[in-house]
């Protein structure tokens, strides 16, 4: 049994991926940095996988954050793995966004304490002056007809799948493939240092990939299975759920 289930994390307690991450970090009383992010990667992916009915557009946001987490995780296990400049800036951005949201969160209670407690009343609504019919220069049948059209236009739209998100998910699959290759390479380079004691951790990276792939599949597109991942699949049964502390 893995320890995370003991946290009794009710689904729906988090809002978006950043909120979920912050919750996980705060529950463990950790600071926001690459070490803490690496340590909650699996749990994050688990939580997201467990959430059955994420709105379509939201899945992508969760998955994108998951991919950055996986980078952090891989790097923490395989120091030889070199990240591209863009990947490094993704990691840095994620940390900064989390720190900022944490700050905003710390301010919300202050608003909550004050809101509606000792309000100041604007009043004056009764101080009505005389009603005098006074049309304006911009009032006409055609300006009204333009206005109603634009009002109807701006009613909340029926959901459409954002194309850019779909594209991101596709490129995410490529990114994972790519990363998997680099990890393998990095393993062979650092084989001696990477003793048996770390074998379990290697598996956890693989499980992370599998879980992430699962997310992608649940998501916007049904991602075509690639040979590369087939190999990993075979190992799935022997791996099990990793322990992380």
């Amino acid at each position: 049994m893995n320890e995370h289930q003991g946290l009794n994390f009710k689904s729906g307690e988090f809002e978006g991926p950043l909120d979920l991450l912050l919750d996980l970090i705060e529950r463990r009383k950790l600071h926001i940095n690459d070490v803490s992010l690496a340590s909650i990667t699996e749990e994050y992916i688990e939580r997201v996988s467990a959430r059955k009915e994420l709105p379509t557009g939201e899945v992508a946001h969760f998955v994108l954050i998951a991919s950055t987490l996986l980078l952090i995780k891989s790097k923490s296990l395989l120091p030889h793995l070199s990240l591209t400049t863009e990947e490094e800036s993704d990691v840095k951005n994620l940390e900064e966004r989390l720190k900022f949201l944490e700050k905003i969160r710390s301010l919300s209670p202050h608003l909550k304490e004050r809101l509606f407690v000792t309000p100041m009343y604007l009043g004056g609504l009764k101080r009505s002056s005389r009603i005098v019919f006074s049309p304006s220069g911009d009032l006409s049948l055609s300006s009204l007809s333009v206005a109603i059209r634009s009002a109807i236009q701006s009613l909340p739209l029926v959901e459409k799948l954002p194309k850019a998100i779909v594209e991101k998910i596709i490129s995410l699959e490529e990114m994972m493939e790519n990363l998997a290759k680099r990890i393998e390479k990095s393993f062979s380079m650092s084989f001696k240092e990477f003793s048996k004691a770390h074998a379990n951790e290697k598996k956890s990276v693989i499980v992370g990939f599998l879980a992430l792939l699962e997310l992608v599949k649940q998501g916007v597109l049904s991602v075509a299975q690639k040979e590369h991942f087939d190999d990993i699949h075979i190992q799935k049964d022997s791996v099990g759920i990793p322990e992380y502390n």
Binding site: F14, G123, S129, V132, P135, L139, L144
Partner: protein, 190 residues
């Protein structure tokens, strides 16, 4: 908080004369105390933009006589200025889809519309009557003066009225359904 301050706030909020008897009830003190408080407030306000007006049994705030010309120019400005995008949009919604309640208008616009509705009321472009389905609320509709200004004798003569009503109904019900869904997913998480 001192009594004259409470009096000032109450009179401001009400925006109309209040009797000494009523004030004594609200502020839980004697009528004599109210009179003394009013005396004090009157002195504080003696050289300000608003003044205290008293008669035998009621008091009220009012703008200072020196500023009456400015108040007039405010009224004039308010009556002559363009309705602007928000004003036209609200008026069009009332004309094409009315009579509507405030919350229906706000739902359609997606923003709080208290001030803009009040403005349209004061300009005589819309009027309101009690909502038969909700005693505390009102229904807003266009005025006859507006129609004649637009040169039409009935709302039926608004351009494309039927198409717009129909299009609105379709989009409105879809939007409502979608919002319900979003609301559930976002609330679930709050």
């Amino acid at each position: 908080m001192n009594l004259s301050h409470s009096l000032e706030a109450l009179l401001y909020f009400k925006g109309e004369p209040i009797t000494i008897a009523e004030l004594s009830k609200i502020l839980k003190c004697s009528e004599n105390e109210i009179r003394l408080g009013a005396e004090e407030l009157s002195e504080t306000l003696s050289s300000r933009g608003i003044r205290l007006v008293r008669n035998e049994d009621e008091i009220s705030l009012a703008t200072a006589p020196e500023v009456s010309s400015i108040i007039e120019s405010l009224e004039k400005e308010e009556r002559e200025k363009d309705l602007g995008r928000a004003g036209l949009e609200t008026l069009a919604i009332v004309a094409y889809l009315g009579p509507l309640s405030k919350s229906e208008i706000e739902y359609t616009r997606g923003v709080n519309s208290s001030f803009i509705l009040r403005h349209l009321l004061l300009r005589g472009l819309i009027s309101r009557k009690e909502n038969p389905n909700d005693k505390r609320g009102y229904l807003y509709a266009t005025t006859i003066e507006l129609l004649s200004h637009l040169g039409i004798s009935s709302l039926l003569e608004l351009p494309e009225l039927q198409e717009i009503k129909k299009e609105f109904q379709e989009k409105y019900s879809k939007a409502k359904a979608k919002e319900q869904k979003e609301k559930e997913s976002e609330e679930e998480s709050s």
